[in-house]
Symmetry: C2
Subunit: 391 residues, 2 copies
Amino acid sequence: MDRDFARLDEFLDEQGLDGYAFHDDGSNSDLYYVTGFDAPDPYFAVYTPEETAVLVSSLEYGRAKQESRADTVKRHADYDYRQKHAEHGEREAEAMMAAEFLADVGCESLAVQERFPVGAADLLREQGVSVEPDEDGVVTDVRATKTDEEVEHVRTAQEANEAAMARAEQLIRGADVGEDGVLRHDGDALTSEFVKQEIEIELLRHGCALDETIVACGRDAADPHDRGSGPLEAGEFVVVDIFPRDKASKYHADMTRTFLVGEPTDTQQEWYDVTHEAMRAALDAVEPGATGEDVNQAVVDVYTDHGFPTVYTDPETETGFIHSTGHGVGLDVHEQPSLSQGGEELRPGHVITIEPGLYDPEVGGVRIEDIVVVTEDGYENLTDYEISLAA
Amino acid sequence: MDRDFARLDEFLDEQGLDGYAFHDDGSNSDLYYVTGFDAPDPYFAVYTPEETAVLVSSLEYGRAKQESRADTVKRHADYDYRQKHAEHGEREAEAMMAAEFLADVGCESLAVQERFPVGAADLLREQGVSVEPDEDGVVTDVRATKTDEEVEHVRTAQEANEAAMARAEQLIRGADVGEDGVLRHDGDALTSEFVKQEIEIELLRHGCALDETIVACGRDAADPHDRGSGPLEAGEFVVVDIFPRDKASKYHADMTRTFLVGEPTDTQQEWYDVTHEAMRAALDAVEPGATGEDVNQAVVDVYTDHGFPTVYTDPETETGFIHSTGHGVGLDVHEQPSLSQGGEELRPGHVITIEPGLYDPEVGGVRIEDIVVVTEDGYENLTDYEISLAA
């Protein structure tokens, strides 16, 4: 599949707007998706059904010409910015330059992201350009459907992720158990912090970066947002959730496994097995035309059948299945589609996580997560990592 | 020194505005400085001379209460958001909630960052709130002056930085030299990529992260923006520039050293010595009341005296001293003050880099950079790392 901007063209047509504009740096995923240009400083870009155009400083001009997918690359000097600046001051000069750039690409009215800067919006409006915030995020919706190349980027990141998970599993399963039940490695307590550091180092060696990772044991694991800290213990769930970004492609992967050193209790084994069953049920529900809500419901049904509470059957519950089944993954680690109540229809090329889990401070937490791509007739699992609680 | 918002209060008073508002996530350094709250998702915050107030989702409420410096923490539920959403739809509900929140903190008129989202600005304006983009970035100016605690954060990051630099230097100086002049490590060519990876691993072990680092040799080093790639060579300048962020505090450090394996030519040694002299001259100029322009001029004078071109004496030159002398460092790796033409007056608590350098594709590049804090009577150098070209 190629990038398909038909929905964006349709949106502009329906709204009666000439183009879709951005003013941000390359960390803005919608902007990066449209232009392919990752600048450290904010730049101006406009998509129209005819062309994609960017306006950059002279410093970025060469790189923009070389690296971006833009049809048109303009620089400040093309609009005599220095002279305008000297005559009219910075603010007025920027407004004039932006207006001339927009005239060049034939735009008098623009859709913009809700997060488009109000400073730039005010300038454009003063120049008579109509600026309409796009509440629904049409570009975010467009890029939820991945091309084959993007799926390969996720696959590469996921391979690195599996190497990092193997390193974490090796540390945890290979640990000695002290008399106090604390895991030990090379004579020291094996901590969440140490395992996270080793995960990061393994990812670095595979060209990936990450801002955070989760290695949460015992009560920590009972809060899905807790990153975990302190010594890891035998006989407790250890949730390891890794979501790295490939530095070269900027695409993410995402995977969770839950490990337990020693013999699980019957309750722990049941939680694990039911969660695994919920995951299989969710995967069975993944196909084009099914909705994110359908897939989430498959998980809710399994948990409900086994007598576990969920926020979908009891909005007040603080234990049981208390988050959604999954989310899209791409340039952002959390993006569309949503696998939850109200989740949209799945399309071929959607890359999504399936991550059911159970939580209770009295028991801990368990979560199992794979990442898959929706295909024409179902899905392909991009994850190749054993699912097993105890060694 | 404590955080001092007097300049922000003055700005609001001069502009006749009630408060300064933000709508962003914790990666926005101005917002994080004001609230101390690092949320992954955008939230609403208002500073007034009387209080700092934040409005967050229920998910973030507990953490905001615990971790933020806000005097007032409100959650969506405090404004019956769900009910409003059901009755009026998302957009209208958000507007009503924001208006009630602003009424609670007594704000009818707001300054906002230029990058404040236009979507939120439009909503507020529709509710009759006046929203004025702040072109000059008064909060960025306020946070340029560091408290003692912030200086300690930078110092901690700099200690990690020095450990990483030592690792890089050990790899480079400890390398064997092949017959082709390429540096070798454990039998392989020693590449820029490998040294960067080892720098990152060392930083990780010290609680720091970084997005990029520079290990640039030969012609790569002649472009100050080139991150460097490929095998490193004897007889060439190797510029190592590291700017990590401490993960716990979010503060940065920044340091550059230039190494050369083998015997430097007379030209190389002269470039290095003159750059070192320029650095000392710049440091001598650092004191409260001096301007960033004064410090930059000290560097320009040294280079000019020795016959090197600079962009300040010849705006067209592409060789010689072609960037500015330095910049502020804090929550952002590049922030105020600027040590360049038009650079503002230095104040005690400013944390700045001093980084003169020379560049020419025919020779390569050399840069030496320390990080210092401006004190009441001069400066304290936060860098403790030898300055030496050849071993």
